[in-house]
Symmetry: C2
Subunit: 500 residues, 2 copies
């Protein structure tokens, strides 16, 4: 469960380049000229036509021409630096009154007037020239969506090469977009089978966590025992920016199969749990803008009001960073182990020291597996080999999977609870929910046996629980002190008691 | 027809001061402390509670305490000027690469990195500290509405005294509000009798041009042959920010009485004209933010689509500045006339010179009125006395009104077509429609005999016409060259031909 993006609409990709249109110098020049007009014409001259010309022209450009145009925008329309310098000199020429306390009388207030004036001017001069284009597009019908596509293209380019001016453009646009997409301007909409096909098609296209296979699958996700909510922005009609899927259940599901294939669903009146099993965002151009923050809180309130008998709000989420972390740990330890085994083991220290991350009984269980299916000089190497096999034969063998279960579950709990980066959970989905005030409730073995579930999360899924009384408190202690709230069950995995 | 504001909700006024609560120093300190928290706490600590505390606390304050608090906000939370100076010094220390053209290769791009970094920092440092409060409130449920009330209070204070810091605060907040209220985020909603009473009540309360007297009156304005459209913002639900009232008619109405009292209305299928007879904005705190700009254009399109047989789109508008302009002109000329009549008359020159603004035949007609009802040494003084009489007896006397008609209509046309301020029409309603691309079509005698219509517009109303083919062109030539498009009828009033 995470904000993910999947397919791109034709406009966002570089389909134009495939058929060799939009690739010529003359087309580039035409769109460049329309961009120039959209920026430099005065306010009432910038008719809808000018902005339409520019955005329509942009869509016809090839990937290469778009890149060229965005670089022109980033470089030639940034700042009037000589104007900024001029204002700065004026500003430095002003003398600050000694103490603000002394001048709070309205009589001496005038002293500040020149400050206010030059600061106002400086505040505007320090804005890049491309601000005008962004502002104008934002107030233009369809413009906000166009800006989001523009940013998606910028991010694509930045993923290939790091260009300082383009990165500055991106930061600026991102900041603008997050102002405009304030949660207060977003409308929570329950998506149902009665919604227009054009909207439902977006749900199918953008569901990135658990892909929707066909119309029947979609209908189930909008039918009895299910809910789907999306955030809509008035300027991007008919296309939720982010949506969340909910299953109403008797108990918090352990596996995604229960959620996706439990036909028929239980009567809604018998449900006591609402399970958030998928969040997808639809706009790659809005990456890094936290649209989900208020979404969960608002959906919880809405469901609670409609169905007061629902008492548990939980997620069933992937742990998308788990395998990456674990495999790199296993690989580096395997290399270290080969290096010099005679050195004393520095247990519990950083990853540059050799650390057997397996317990003795886990090591033993792994090493006693039949050698034809589990090869390796030690437990960690056996584990590495089993987990990196693309056939995932371990999930079909009770013998292997039982040997893997204990170390995988334990290390998964450790990954979720202990592994951090700058004081935040290393796992992006964990960080998302902890930020929102959730706690880590339970990890579930063999919970997602899809290709993606196995390769990213080792088949494990986690339930985060939103406990209404503690959301604010948990969000706060996570933010200020990095405290990750977790159930005793989770803690047991990490520090097993003697009876385990 | 103009964006006007009328009643204030209890929250906006200073009702708290009337019952002596909210007036104490301790209450002020409490709200000050909650404002401080709302600004200085870090992001996730600023829970909804903190912002709610502040806004609820603010509403309990007396007028005087609100004033005190707003001044604290304006003065103590403006800029960290020493930080700005520090950044400026770093910035001046950077050396500009000689020529941008030379460094557009991605290799030399790095040279600009320090510019981008310091400019980014400066851009943020130059923002006043109170930006944080505004941004946070904007993303908080109910916050946008609260900000609009805050600004209404600021404007009230500024109307009494001009305080530089508060004016700077106001400019900043105004700019923020106009970003957030982008037309793209506003939804056009047709207001009907099926809307919730809580919304309809707002229409009654805020209709400022032609007050709605009772429920029946309101029902008529939403019924057959009438339309009402409002702009709604998702963050201020159930309360249109601005609304426009439309009458469907056979011909463009001459008087407001025809519109308000023509029962029964004609069948809609027979209508050929859509008459905009009222625009009211509901938020005094959004003064100066042109919400109406796109409203008329969008309503025209909507009506045209629904009823293609409508071919004329016109307004019936007041001329709210006419009497103020005329009376001050008459008064100053009367004074000048008393001063030194022997001086040669500098005709057509500025108002500091004596100018008889009446034509000889108008002068004669006014001077030949019976002396018991029309006193004065000359025509202008007679006119001044008649028009400033609060009983408006002139409208009931055919003799007087026929003597007034010719000069009033002529001077009204002159006022609309010739009197400007900084290249724009002096009359605010005229300026509003001309900006939107309308033309001045016709002025109507005895068109609004309400107290307000008489005292502001001398009973005259004007039809502005939106001609679909020319809207963009007219808006453009008005904006760039101050050209006021008018019918030949209007021009005749100003420069009468021999046959008139």
């Amino acid at each position: 469960m995470h904000q993910q993006n999947s397919q791109k609409s034709p406009e966002e990709g570089n389909s134009a380049s495939n058929n060799h249109s939009g690739n010529s110098e003359s087309e580039f020049k035409r769109v460049h000229a329309s961009m120039q007009s959209a920026i430099s014409l005065n306010k009432t001259e910038v008719l809808d036509d000018v902005l339409n010309n520019f955005s329509e022209g942009y869509f016809t450009l090839s990937h290469e021409n778009r890149r060229k145009l965005l670089l022109v925008l980033a470089r030639d329309y940034d700042l009037n630096r000589s104007q900024v310098r001029e204002l700065i000199k004026q500003y430095l020429g002003l003398e600050l009154p000694d103490d603000k306390a002394q001048v709070s009388g309205s009589k001496e207030e005038g002293l500040f007037s020149s400050f206010y004036r030059i600061e106002w001017n400086l505040r505007h001069a320090i804005q890049p020239v491309y601000e005008v284009l962004f502002d104008r597009l934002n107030t233009h019908p369809g413009g906000l969506r166009f800006l989001s596509i523009l940013r998606a293209n910028i991010l694509d380019i930045l993923a290939e090469e790091n260009i300082a001016s383009l990165r500055a453009l991106d930061s600026y646009l991102k900041e603008k977009l997050s102002t405009w997409l304030s949660p207060a301007a977003l409308e929570l909409h329950q998506i149902t089978w009665d919604d227009p096909a054009s909207l439902l098609e977006k749900i199918v296209a953008y569901e990135a966590v658990h892909p929707i296979s066909n119309l029947l699958d979609l209908k189930r996700r909008l039918g009895i025992g299910r809910r789907c909510f999306g955030y809509l922005h008035p300027a991007i009609p008919g296309e939720p920016l982010i949506f969340i899927e909910v299953a109403l259940m008797k108990n918090v599901a352990h596996t995604i199969q229960e959620v996706l294939w439990d036909s028929p669903p239980i009567p809604e009146s018998e449900a006591t749990s609402a399970l958030f099993y998928s969040i997808s965002s639809t706009q790659p151009g809005l990456a890094g803008i936290n649209l989900g923050k208020f979404l969960i809180k608002r959906v919880v309130k809405l469901v609670k009001r409609e169905m007061p008998h629902i008492s548990t709000f939980a997620t069933l989420s992937p742990i998308p960073g788990f395998m990456t972390w674990l495999l790199s740990k296993l690989a580096s330890q395997t290399v270290l182990a080969e290096g010099d085994m005679s050195q004393p083991v520095a247990e519990g220290s950083g990853s540059t020291f050799y650390e057997n991350i397996l317990k003795p009984d886990e090591e033993e269980a792994l090493m006693s597996l039949p050698k034809d299916i589990a090869t390796g000089k030690n437990g960690m190497e056996v584990m590495l080999n089993l987990l990196t096999s693309t056939t995932y034969k371990w999930i079909h063998s009770p013998e292997i999977s039982s040997a893997l279960k204990s170390p995988l579950m334990r290390l998964c709990a450790r990954y979720l609870l202990k592994e951090k980066k700058r004081g935040k959970a290393l796992d992006s989905v964990a960080n998302f929910h902890l930020q929102n005030g959730a706690m880590v409730e339970r990890i579930n073995w063999m919970a997602d046996l899809s290709e993606k579930g196995l390769s990213q999360s080792g088949g494990i899924m986690v339930n985060y629980v939103y406990s209404l009384d503690n959301i604010e408190e948990y969000a706060h202690s996570y933010f200020s002190n990095g405290v990750i709230q977790a159930s005793s069950d989770l803690h047991h995995h990490v520090e097993p008691h003697s009876d385990k």
